[in-house]
Amino acid sequence: MCIRRGELLKILVLGRGPEVDIRLVSHMSPLMLSRKHCTLTPTADGFWNIIDNKSLNGVFVNGIHLEPLVPYTLIPDDIVQLGIRLQNKTDPEFQYIFLKEPSLTPCHEHGSNKQDWCQNKDGKTGKTDFVEESSRVDHTIDHLATHLQATSSSQLLQKQTKKILVKGQQDVGQNCPEIVEQCTNDKVNDGIAQPGVMNRSECEERDLHRLNLCWQCLVIYNRESILDPQAKTRQKEAACHTMSVMESELQCSICSELFIKAMTLNCSHTFCSHCINEWRNRKAECPVCRKAVSTCTPSLAINLCVEHIVLGMDEDIQQHRRELLAARTKKEGVCVPCIVFLFFKLYFLF
């Protein structure tokens, strides 16, 4: 997957929900990503900000968990991870590298204040056929992709990313000597402007930074997408199966809904609190096995499982559940400490 900044400055929403700009579906864990997991916002000065939309499993940049709703400005080589790494996997499913894309597009198109930074010494700007350029860039990305495929662990990935990036640049350079020349000119320009202040690597870094400002591109590469498609389908089927089993196991035999405030009886049969209370008013025996009811205990674990499953369901189902909960709660009255406790538990669990 590759997202480019392009001419269009658009806010991009990424997630598994239906109304996002870039839909990402996990093949390993259906609820890995939230519906609107994160947002990529192009900034006025040519950067991208990434914002975690209070996602369940979080957004990580270089392994650091981002604070929800606080924008983080991505810099080249940042490793962006959406969701967590599964315990039995060596890599997270959604891991991307933020790359700067070397470009021939004149910088003055991207804000007048940055104009001088990318112009050639003589003030001319290099113009190249856009289509030609983008095909070259595609080539570079393909190149990156194949290299990424070879990497296995996150650490390795981080190390190799830099190499790949350099290599990618070289490729572009080979394809079009003009760019290299242009870049070199910029470097010379810098060197003249501030002799002795920066050493070579600092110089290069600044160049990278400037190129970045001129034309920034987010190359996101989903490592999963190159997996064997059959394996993908199998994984997907397995996940669907698990979901449907879970759904039927977590259904109340009285109301046929997923448990709402699950309560387990002494016989170990479970029902919604509303359902079993309603029934116990008539008869103090288990609807399933007819054993006399002696205890009726809330099942927190079941409640957490249900909440987790519901989060992955369509909005109308969630809405239906909220309505149902409200109607039942109105009838029964709420135990505030219990609700608060449940929220905390949910928050810390995920």
Binding site: S256, W279, R282, A327
Partner: protein
């Protein structure tokens, strides 16, 4: 009183039961689609007497009525139509003497389990006759069989 939560739960339950019955009906049973109202409160189930039993080749109709308190309240179930099975637990007005329809009802039971109980009740019959108190009962009973204080016949017929 009709409570929103109960209504909603009844709808979902009935929808699920109907779907299961349409998809995977017990042998010889079929929901009469035309009889189902939007509210799902009333269904007719067509059934055939099982082969190898006294009712082989006969066709019956069962009417299910669900109150707003279903499944906490049992459904009202009666035979309707021209052919009421002649059986020691079935009155000639269609009322059925079956404990799971009243005293022994549980909300974990379903239309399907009620149908299966009725089929097995008919299948186990060895002598086609009306209940001994048929004439009196039919003359004096309420239209709703659930209002009857049943004195359950023993199952040795």
């Amino acid at each position: 009183m009709l409570c929103g939560a109960t209504m909603a739960s009844m709808q979902k339950r009935l929808q699920k039961e109907l779907l299961a019955l349409q998809r995977d009906p017990p042998p010889g049973m079929k929901v009469d689609e035309k009889s189902i109202q939007a509210s799902l409160t009333q269904w007719i189930v067509d059934m055939e007497g099982a082969s190898g039993t006294l009712y082989e080749g006969e066709r019956f109709q069962l009417l299910f009525k669900f109150s707003s308190r279903y499944p906490f309240d049992s459904p009202e179930v009666v035979f309707i139509g021209d052919n009421i099975p002649v059986h020691p637990h079935v009155y000639s007005n269609g009322h059925i003497c079956l404990s799971i329809l009243t005293e022994d009802w549980s909300p974990a039971l379903s239309v399907q389990s009620v149908c299966l109980s009725i089929v097995s009740m008919l299948s186990s019959c060895k002598d086609k006759k009306r209940p001994p108190d048929n004439a009196l009962y039919v003359r004096t009973c309420d239209k709703n069989p659930k209002k009857t204080k049943w004195w359950y016949h023993d199952d040795n017929c």
